[in-house]
Symmetry: C2
Subunit: 576 residues, 2 copies
């Protein structure tokens, strides 16, 4: 490819709309252009990278006996009504009507389509297990599209669906798929992706993992234990709070005018946050009464965990006049309410706390959770509802954990029979009985991998593409070819020779070295061959790796051998 | 791949909903399943074929310097408002609203998206010419989805867009693209595809060709001249009517009660249809007055041609009371009307015709077109408005033409500046002036090629896939492996050996020869290797080509050499 003909302008300025590194370089390097909010076109370099990512994914899916299929982008509402998700999924599912007024939707995931396909084709146990996958465009009407290709509305995804007759078989395949994912990310040059336990969310099912690229630009919070490899999304991470032994206190009432926050309290009483007891109130979807969660003042409620305990969506709730709750001053001692009340595990065995007194402008000190709270009108149970914090003890081994941000690259789910039961997919088992198969599903965001690769591999000047997904492998700069035609000829001859074995981009423009190198940095091709007048006069060519770890002058006659050696090294370094 | 694990049931019965050969075999062979009207999922064998078709297309597009990109499936209304097509295209364009009430649409073609991409990236003449293409899902809310993958609503298409600074450059590239298309179809095994001149329709532009698979199941009518290679879609085909010299007649009035059709007339007057003159009346979109087309009674009006002459959509019109036309008895002699009147070329020089007399239940005989029609209140011009018929003289050479049906596989258009002007894409030319580039666009339907390959290559038992797009190259049947384990072992060993060099499907099921062969016929793999007890005892394996042109017993030790030879032959026969 000649750079003079490559479609895609590159520019120096940081685009105003971008803050994430990958977003900035995707725009500056001429990789993507926005067509509408969260909807992008891919220019040729990005399309080349994406094709390589897809091919790696395809090979690894085939390696675990995946069969590639293609489901529709547009699906009839009926299909999602069968699973119940046409109603249960919110407005991120884009619904529309065709010319005959028939309800359609844009696929954001394809469990329904995969069951639709499988249920007529796999009716005997002898067909099981099997896995089908596709690589295809999806649409999710994301309210907060951001970060270039990180959170978009239209995206390309590999989604796979496996079908099994036993849970053991699913569990084993799930593990195979986990390994295939690790291999995919390694082959694509990632070394900073971890799998974490995650919420099953709208997918349903019992067990799920996300593959997270550790990155400050990420939206997810991850609990990582350096000691025992415990890894979980904060949304699901168990919390084992530290506990401070304190003697029992004696409840006594204090006038605390206008002090409705934990900050107010610990300043007023000169105590640690962890010696306070706070109340968080939530409305529950479909229920009239709110719920109250009591937890230690140094923790916050993890809404995802609360949602799972309650079994419905929850929303922070500020109260209205009809509630029998004294907002800002709610406490467990003497509370009389029709609201359901939960105690978080952080309160277990805690003594001598400050809490609301259920009357305006009053708090108690000396509240003992066991004595003053439980055994009265409240349930004798503690729930794990708190959000994990930096430095919390690891729920598995107790070691201090690390809280990091991550970008989700892929996810895997054990779905169970949620879809096969609701859509009535059955097979005849070896004993002649009809049974519902057990499913797993497995997604990878192709565009996220493209952007994630930049997040992991870049310097101040642009992306540094791993050799396995680089748009080209070699970038030839010819410097000053305008003045010295022999430079252009030499570059062209090297280009012709290398093109037989490598993907080569030739910068054939008559531009300054500054412009040529800035563009080469933005295009991020792993190996650069610099043809200049001075070197050429000495019979030498400069070889530079994009990551600047290698910079050598090579005699022209050794050029190909040296390039082969550099290429070999680049491939060997992959994902390490 | 083991057939026992392949997802996709095959069946013997002709599906009730299918009439086209390709539709029948796509369903019977386990290639596709319908998800909604005109919306299909592809099962693994179809996906394998499609991947090969796409790769052939990709290679040939790259060969003519195409740069692969990806445009969005979902586009904002604004983009199509710029070109005017948001309003001008009918309800085949699926429009919808996102969660914020913003108008979106599903891409059915991507001229707008390609200009959106190109206009910021190609601002100098030095970037030109260039061509960008994508292979991607499109949606067209087709009112008459039919024929399996022939006329669908969701489909995969390769669409390409070229940009030029001169018409000459476009014309030259158009020709290159024409040749690339011929190569694509030849490589995919087609020998029955012709390019015909075609209507530019909603795309606009000046010149267009369709690539048509000649097939009785097609929806398009094509005029083919066996003598001079004139080829055109009936929609655009010029008509050069034969002419019968007749002496002038003398107009005389006849009472013809209730005779409002040409059939009535030629039976009543005992004349040939070609001695009648008929009137066809059309309403014009956006105009109050209808138009009258006079043509010879043995021809019909080609609405596509009329539409182009009028410059607006036309619809057959049956009249109402306010019209100054005597419907059923309209004729050119003595006609006084405010309607615009056109004469078709079929009337040129015709004498002694029967025509309506512009009064109820009366016709004239002896009407001479030159004398009684023209030179009075009518324009002195003839238009080419008739629809070509089987056996008409070729408009280029006069030889008798053939009317055939065809299925459109691809199309190419010279678009001119329609989109670059409306969307204001400009570049700075070498003289410093801003100019609008000239565009071409080039489409191929991937699913149509899949279905078309079956239409061209099949027998009574299933598809006969060309080697270049076959889902597998070799299909091994092991017969009676249940009773004779050595058969299964031999088949497996052949499978392992061949899999290193070929794509092989092994039928490892314990089924009868009848079932195995019926399935093999439906899967259409070009070369079949039959491992059976009787042959094996003699040290022989049977090789059969799917098209049944070869059926040989091969000594086991020669098997690989013979397979190589057969493979070579299959590749050499491609597209011949």
């Amino acid at each position: 490819m000649l750079l003079s003909k490559l479609l895609g302008e590159r520019f120096k300025e940081k685009p105003a709309e971008a803050s994430m590194i990958s977003h900035i370089f995707l725009l500056r390097g001429g990789y993507v252009r926005q067509v509408a909010t969260g909807i992008y076109s891919l220019l040729p370099p990005a399309k080349r990278i994406v094709a390589k990512i897809e091919q790696i994914i395809r090979e690894e899916m085939d390696n675990i006996d995946g069969q590639e299929v293609l489901f529709p982008v547009v699906m009839p509402a009926e299909l999602w009504q069968e699973s119940g998700r046409y109603e249960s999924v919110g407005s991120e599912l884009l619904r529309m009507k065709d010319r005959n007024g028939h309800s359609l939707l844009l696929g954001m995931t394809h469990e329904e389509a995969s069951v639709h396909m499988a249920r007529t084709e796999a009716t005997s146990y002898t067909k099981f297990p099997f896995m089908i996958y596709q690589i295809q465009t999806k649409f999710r009407d994301e309210p907060r599209a951001r970060g270039g290709l990180i959170r978009v509305r239209e995206f390309t995804m590999k989604d796979a669906y496996s079908f099994h007759t036993t849970q053991e078989d699913l569990a084993e395949y799930y593990q195979q798929c986990h390994e295939a994912y690790e291999k995919i990310f390694r082959r694509a040059g990632f070394s900073n992706i971890v799998s974490v336990e995650s919420d099953t969310g709208m997918m349903g099912g019992s067990l799920a993992h996300e593959f997270m690229l550790i990155s400050e630009g990420g939206e997810d919070n991850l609990v990582l234990c350096p000691a025992c490899q415990y890894r979980a999304n904060v949304e699901v991470s168990a919390v084992k709070p530290s506990h401070t032994e304190r003697p029992e206190g004696t409840p006594s009432l204090h006038h605390t005018p206008g002090m409705t926050t934990i900050e107010d309290l610990y300043e007023f009483f000169k105590i640690d946050k962890s010696q306070t007891l706070k109340a968080a109130v939530f409305a529950v979807e479909g229920q009239e009464k709110p719920i109250v969660v009591f937890l230690r003042g140094d923790y916050d409620v993890n809404e995802a965990k609360l949602r799972r305990v309650v079994g419905a969506n929850v929303f922070p709730y500020a109260g209205n006049e009809e509630d029998d709750l004294c907002f800002g001053f709610i406490g467990p001692h003497g509370l009389e309410t029709s609201a359901r009340v939960f105690f978080d595990a952080s309160l277990m065995g805690e003594n001598d706390l400050v809490s609301g007194a259920n009357q305006k402008d009053y708090h108690y000190t000396g509240i003992n959770v066991t004595k003053e709270c439980l055994g009265k009108s409240f349930p004798e149970e503690f729930y794990d509802l708190a959000k994990a914090r930096q430095g919390d003890p690891c729920p598995a081994c107790g070691h201090t954990t690390d809280l990091r941000r991550g970008i989700e690259m892929g996810n895997i789910f054990q779905l169970g029979r949620k879809y096969t039961e609701s859509m009535d997919m059955t097979y005849v088992d070896s004993d002649g009985q009809r049974r519902h198969p057990i499913m797993g599903c497995y997604g990878i965001g192709v565009g996220r991998m493209l952007a994630g690769a930049i997040e992991e591999h870049h310097d101040d000047y642009g992306p540094i593409w791993p050799i396995s997904i680089a748009p080209w492998q070699i970038h030839i700069c010819s410097l000053g070819a305008g003045k010295s035609p022999e430079v252009g000829e030499a570059a062209r001859s090297i280009y012709d020779k290398l093109s037989a074995r490598y993907e080569v981009l030739l910068d054939d423009r008559d531009v300054t070295a500054g412009v040529a190198f800035a563009d080469a940095d933005l295009l991020g091709v792993p190996l650069r061959v610099i043809v200049g007048k001075r070197g050429l006069d000495k019979g030498e060519i400069e070889l530079v790796r994009r990551d600047k770890s290698v910079r050598v002058m090579v005699p022209l006659e050794n050029l190909e051998a040296e390039i082969d050696a550099q290429m070999k090294a680049l491939w060997e370094e992959l994902g390490s």
